[in-house]
Amino acid sequence: MEAMQRSYKAQKVIDRMAKKLNRQIAGSLAACVHCGMCTESCHYVLANPGDPTYAPAYKADRVRKIFKRHFDWTGRVIPWWVKADSVYTDEELEELKDIAFGKCTNCRRCSLNCPMGVDFAVVNRMTRGLLVHVGIMPKGVAVVSKDQWEIGNQMGVLKEDYLDTIQWMSEELVDTLGDPGAAIPIDKNGCAVMYTINPREVKYDPRTISDAAKIFYAAEESWTMPSEGWDMTNFGLFSGDDELGGAVARRVFEKAAEIRAKCVVMSECGHGYRSTRCEGQNWAGMDVQFEMESSVVTMLRYLRDGRIKVDRSKNTLPVTYHDSCNNARSCGMFEEPRELLGLVAADFREMYPNRAENYCCTGGGGAMSMSEYTPQRLKSAKVKADQLRATGAKVVVTSCHNCVDGLTDLIRHYKLDMKVTQLVNLVADALVVEKRVAVPVPKAVPVAALAGRTILVIDDEPDVRAFLTAVLEDNGAKVVTAADGDEGLALARKEKPDLVTLDISMPGKDGGKVFEAMRRDPDLRSIRVCVITGRPELRKLIYERPVPPPEGYLDKPVSEETLLTNVRKILEVAGDQKAH
């Protein structure tokens, strides 16, 4: 077998492994006794009964065999005795990719349950890194990593879009609170807090930014947002690429040092928190002079110190809390979110199991960006769905943007009657703003906010068309609707709308084709597009097209508030001068 020709990539993987093995990983690869105690810790195993290929030890053995064949003596001398084997072909590497990326979210639940201290999640991350090193990875991982390397954040948000969004949120907050002092500062030197966020907030959820700003304002905090190094997420954690991890973390650290911030506060994002707070310094090989904390801890401190006041009767729906794997199992954040929830929500119901034993949201480890594995992800999500359902809660709170997406997807898939939110939203909703401000955050966008706009709704579901039409018309827009792609294109040419809301999955011409046709048509290409879909796994039908991406993207079901926030953002922030 050893005489077999080895592919260039396979050889590079072996060479790279020699460089990436550290004592912890070598120990984890050498020490497994195949006792099977970790098997049932994994949500993939529980959701796929009878299929041993999901067992953590089985998955680990796919890379362990290479380690044993090349680095461990018994495996070198009598490989078959310990199931050691090398890797020869690119096809074998592709198979390894499907395991490392498609069958494990690096949630670390099995690691915590191994009596031997085998940390499979860390081994799996190394495996991902080896594959990424030779260019073998899911498409989504390649795209996101490229964006983070080249543009500086993992969603490819341009600096001007980021600053525009902050500006927009800032103006809205000043209007709402009636105080120019509520404006969001950018690059202010010497502040106590530099607030960093997840680019998802800029793109899909700007309300979390204004909610955080409102809390900082109420606490009278000396704070700022940075113009660079604002993305505290880090795809290096998911791709196993330590170089990317170090480069991304360094951007945040260097910006904080430049503006002399005393503390970097990270918005609620599990992998961002872990990457920046717990791993970043190790990847970047640098020490920092400032503190770093999760905004959960910041908000709790404000409450403990009496810097903000809340009225928890504002949040009456039964809520439960989902521990993000990265926050909990990898960074020890267990009690702070619960204490905070207890203070801002009236009816908190613990999910079981919880804390370090909680199950993954199934969107972890970058799984949401790997659409090719969506079916097995959603299948494995049954475990989480059962856990959520058992709580009887109507709201699941999580301190992680990845979990927000993962949970939203599974809630829709398993038809649970729940919504997902974050602590920052609950705190902002419960916030009692005294003296300087009398009015709480507006629950609805002012009527006629969309006056003068024409919006084309393309969706094959009559209920969705009716809902979108009602919300948009109530806010002053002129709405035209189409039930399929061809009709939509014809109406777009006729009406020249300011915005098109576009479903992806439709009979006949699907949303992807409509979108590309619009982008390629000189008369239509400037029309803004917001994709609204109930099939996030079909995202690639839009994003993989060789045309500029849509201006917005929303998952169904979409709330009135989210719809309006995003529609307004697309129309206003993008610099459209037609109205207002």
Partner: protein
């Protein structure tokens, strides 16, 4: 006692022990040549935990079946683990007592019985584990020839250890010879097999515990079982007065 048995009990064991010690030393040096990862960041999680506490907890976790879900929910498997490993300790102890401290078990039927009960129990667990490894598709999928062989080797070794416990060569040297030859083989084979896991245990658990202690994950917090699951009614949260700032 025949010359062969004397040789098996003494020279053979000593040679095998020296060989094992040398190979183990080499093994540890091999592991240590890999660089140890470093955690530069300030600690996270509860202020009550430290790297040191994490390491101690991590080493002790195998004696705390309540700590990990895997041992808590599969208590019978955990009991098997304990019995098996106590059996290993007893069988090893016997391999030193018979040649070097025979007076300890001579005319001490109770002690002999204790050894026999413990080792036979371990032998029974060994049989159960062999069956489980063959029958359970999950176990089969992760098992290598070494896994089967090591388990069979130990189980057979237990049987001969139990039979040898009375140390009565006058009643037949067969079991004693088999026991000591197997012990020597075992000592030579162990460093190359999964049985050497106890050599790695202190290292893997040290590094995992150090990291988890530094990050406030160890000691693992209790996964609180909500009362409403039994009572089917929602529980109100208490504002827990806790821990740390990150």
């Amino acid at each position: 006692m025949s010359g062969l048995l004397h040789f098996a009990e003494h020279r053979l064991q000593e040679a095998a022990l020296i060989f094992m010690a040398l190979v183990y030393t080499k093994r540890i040096l091999w592991l240590l040549k890999f660089p140890a990862g470093k955690e530069r960041q300030a600690p996270t999680g509860s202020r009550d935990t430290t790297k040191r506490k994490g390491i101690l907890y991590s080493w002790a976790i195998v004696g705390m079946p309540w700590a990990m879900e895997s041992t808590r929910t599969r208590f019978f498997t955990y009991v098997q683990f304990v019995v098996f490993h106590v059996g290993v300790t007893a069988a090893i102890a016997l391999s030193f007592i018979i040649p070097y401290l025979p007076g300890l078990i001579e005319n001490n039927d109770t002690l002999v019985r204790v050894f026999q009960v413990v080792i036979w129990a371990a032998c029974a667990v060994g049989c159960m584990r062999i069956v489980r490894r063959i029958v359970d598709p999950y176990m089969r999928a992760i098992s290598s020839p070494d896994d089967y062989f090591s388990l069979v080797l130990l189980t057979v070794w237990f049987a001969f250890a139990a039979l040898s416990a009375p140390n009565r060569p006058d009643q037949g040297e067969g079991p004693l010879l088999a026991y000591f030859i197997l012990t020597a083989f075992f000592l030579i084979y162990v460093p190359f097999s999964k049985i050497s896991h106890y050599l790695y245990y202190p290292f893997t658990r040290f590094y995992f515990g150090r990291s988890m202690g530094h990050r406030g994950v160890f000691p693992i917090p209790k996964s609180v079982k909500p009362a409403f699951r039994e009572a089917a009614a929602p529980v109100q949260a208490e504002a827990t007065a806790t821990t740390s700032s990150h």
